[in-house]
C-alpha cells in the first residue's frame, strides 16, 4: 500500500493548490502562435476578438460560481490586489463620508496591511477580536460601528483556522447602517456555496490559486446594485471599466475561469470526499492526549484543520514530519520568531499557539495520504514528548503556570 505513496505528502492546500490538469491544458491553449494569444484589448483584428471572447467566457464562469453578474467581476493579479483595491478603493472614494474602517485581528495580511496604510493616511481602523472559536460575530461588528464608519472588511473563511464567518448577519448590519461591506473570500471558492444574489456583500475578493487555478490571477466582485464605486489603484489604459488598468493576462484568466467552472461542477463531490478524509483524520488524531483544535470545530470548512499539540514545539514537530508538507502556527522558521497572530488573537497561550499545525486537504489528497500522515504524526508526537521536559512535568502533575521560569 505504502509503495503507492509519493513523498513528501502535500497537506498544505490552504496555502496553495496544484493547478488542475484540465486548467493547465486550457492555459497552454492561450499562449503560443497556434493558440489564442491575442491582446483582448485589440479591437482591430480577430486575434483580439478571440482573446476577448475567452476572457469574457472566463468572467462568466467566475460570476457563475458565486452567482453574480459577470459585469461585477474585475480581474486583478490575485486576492491581495483585490483586497487592496476594495479597501483603499472604497476608503479613498468615500472618504468625505467618514474615515473609520472596521476589520478584525484575524484577517489576512492582504487586508491588515492596506488598513495600516490607510491609518498612515489619516483613517482610523478598529481591529475586532474574534471569539474563542475564531469567529467575528455580527454583534461585535455592530458594537464597533460609528457615525463615520465607511467600510467593514471581514473575511469569509479564515485561512489558518478554516472558521466560517456569518456573512449574512454582518452584511445585514452593514446594509442597515449604510456601510460598505468587503469580504476576503480567497479560501471559500469551491469549498462552500457563495450566493451573491442574496448575500448582502458589496465587494468580495477571490483568488485562483487556492482553487486549482494558476497563481498571479484573482478577481474583485464590485456590486452594481446598489452601486459601489471605487478609486482605481493602478492607472494606465482604463481596462476593466477604469477600475484596474493593465493588459489582461488571457492565459491566467482562462485558467481561473476553467478552475472556477470545475469548482462549480465538482464542489459537491469534492466536499463529500474531503469531509470523509477530514473526519477520518480528526477521529484518529483526537485520540492523542492533550491536543487542542483551534477554531470552532462545528463552524468550519472541512478542508482545514488546525491543531495544537501541547508540550511539543511546532517547528520541531514540522521538522520531525519532514515527509509531510504542512504549515505551522509558529513562524520560528522565518525571521520573526513569533507565534501566529491569529492564534494569539484567539487567546491561545504562546506555547500552544506555537505548537500548532495547520493541515489542509484538497482534491488530490488520498486516503493513503491521510493514513500515512496519521502514522507519522503519532510517531513524531510520541518521540518529541518523550524528549519534552514539559510533558514530563505534565505527567508528574505539575501545573506549568505555577513554575517560576527562567526566561532569557
Amino acid at each position: 500500500m505504502t509503495s503507492e505513496i509519493n513523498l513528501p505528502i502535500y497537506m498544505d492546500y490552504a496555502s496553495t493548490t496544484p493547478v488542475d490538469p484540465r486548467v493547465a491544458k486550457k492555459i497552454s491553449d492561450h499562449l503560443t502562435l497556434d493558440g489564442n494569444f491575442g491582446n483582448p484589448a485589440s479591437r482591430s483584428h480577430k486575434f483580439g476578438w478571440k482573446a476577448e471572447e475567452a476572457v469574457e467566457e472566463a468572467r462568466s464562469h467566475v460570476a457563475n460560481l458565486v452567482n453574480c453578474d459577470p459585469r461585477e467581476i474585475v480581474w486583478t493579479s490575485g486576492a491581495t490586489e483585490a483586497d487592496n483595491l476594495a479597501i483603499k478603493g472604497v476608503a479613498n472614494f468615500y472618504q468625505k463620508n467618514g474615515k473609520h474602517i472596521i476589520t478584525s485581528k484575524i484577517e489576512h495580511k492582504a487586508v491588515l496591511d492596506p488598513c495600516r496604510q490607510l491609518e498612515r493616511d489619516g483613517f482610523e481602523v478598529t481591529y475586532l477580536e474574534p471569539n474563542e472559536g475564531g469567529l467575528i460575530t455580527p454583534e461585535a461588528v455592530l458594537n464597533a460601528i460609528r457615525e463615520d464608519t465607511v467600510l467593514i472588511s471581514i473575511m469569509h473563511i479564515n485561512n489558518e483556522l478554516g472558521t466560517i464567518n456569518d456573512l449574512s448577519g454582518i452584511g445585514k448590519i452593514a446594509r442597515e447602517k449604510g456601510i460598505f461591506f468587503h469580504v476576503d473570500a480567497a479560501q471559500s471558492t469551491g469549498k462552500i456555496v457563495i450566493d451573491l444574489s442574496s448575500l448582502p456583500v458589496d465587494l468580495m475578493s477571490f483568488s485562483a490559486h487556492k482553487t486549482y487555478g494558476p497563481k498571479g490571477i484573482g478577481a474583485l466582485f464590485v456590486r452594481r446594485k446598489p452601486r459601489v464605486r471605487i478609486e482605481a489603484q493602478i492607472h494606465g489604459g482604463g481596462h476593466e471599466r477604469g477600475m484596474r488598468s493593465g493588459t489582461l493576462p488571457t492565459h491566467q484568466i482562462v485558467g481561473m475561469g476553467e478552475a472556477f467552472r470545475i469548482a462549480k461542477e465538482e464542489m459537491d463531490d469534492d466536499k463529500i470526499r474531503i469531509q470523509y478524509l477530514h473526519d477520518k483524520f480528526y477521529d484518529s488524531i483526537s485520540k492523542i492526549e492533550e491536543i487542542y483544535v483551534n477554531g470552532d470545530i462545528d463552524n468550519k470548512v472541512c478542508n482545514i484543520l488546525n491543531i495544537s499539540f501541547a508540550y511539543v514545539e511546532g517547528e520541531s514537530l514540522i521538522m520531525a514530519l519532514k515527509d509531510i508538507a504542512v504549515s505551522s502556527g509558529s513562524a520560528c522558521t522565518s525571521a520573526s520568531l513569533e507565534p501566529s497572530y491569529v492564534l494569539r488573537a484567539l487567546g491561545r497561550k504562546d506555547e500552544l499557539a506555537s505548537s500548532s499545525i495547520r493541515f489542509s486537504f484538497g482534491r488530490f489528497t488520498t486516503e493513503e495520504d491521510v493514513d500515512y500522515t496519521l502514522t507519522l504524526i503519532n510517531h513524531a508526537v510520541d518521540r518529541l514528548r518523550e524528549l519534552s521536559p514539559l510533558w514530563e512535568m505534565y505527567l508528574d502533575g505539575i501545573d506549568l503556570d505555577t513554575v517560576d521560569w527562567q526566561t532569557h
Partner: protein, 134 residues
C-alpha cells in the same frame, strides 16, 4: 530551511534513538546529580540538563548525562550536542564549554544562536546545583 545537515542529522538521530542520545532523567534528589533547567514555554524553548558525577582526586568527573528539551529543531540538536561534549569531563573542563563551541559544531544559523546560549546556561546551572549539594 536554513539548517545545516549537521543540525538535521543530530535532531533526527536524537528523536529516533533517544536512549543512545542520552534522553531521559535522573532522580534530581540524588546527591551526585546536578539539575539545570532554563528557558520558558512562552519563549519556545525549555532545556533540562542533568549531570551525574563522581569525585576523582580533588575534582569531580561527569560520568553520565541526561537531558530533555522542548524547543525548535536546533534547540534539540544543541542540547544533544552539548551532552556529548560533557561526558567524561571534569567540572572545571565542563565550565569551559561556551555556546560558540556548539554554534561551530552544528553550524547554527545566526537566528538560532540563542539555542546555544540556552545550552550553555543549562550546564552552568546543573554544575551550580551539583556543587551546592557537595
Amino acid at each position: 530551511m536554513a539548517y545545516s545537515k549537521k543540525v538535521v542529522d543530530k535532531f533526527e538521530n536524537t528523536i529516533n534513538e533517544p536512549t543512545k542520545y542520552n534522553v531521559g532523567r535522573f532522580d534530581p534528589k540524588e546527591m551526585n546529580v546536578g539539575t539545570g533547567m532554563v528557558g520558558a514555554p512562552a519563549c519556545g524553548d525549555v532545556m533540562k540538563l542533568q549531570i551525574k558525577c563522581e569525585s576523582k582526586g580533588n575534582t569531580h568527573v561527569i560520568k553520565d548525562v541526561k537531558f530533555k528539551t522542548y524547543g525548535c529543531g536546533s534547540a534539540i540538536a544543541s542540547s544533544s550536542e552539548l551532552v556529548e561534549m560533557l561526558i567524561g569531563k571534569t567540572l572545571e573542563e565542563a565550565k569551559e564549554i561556551k555556546n560558540i563551541d556548539i554554534v561551530e559544531a552544528l553550524e547554527l544559523p545566526p537566528i538560532k544562536i540563542h539555542c546555544s546560549v540556552l545550552a550553555e546556561d543549562s550546564i552552568k546551572q546543573a554544575i551550580e546545583d551539583y556543587e551546592q549539594k557537595q
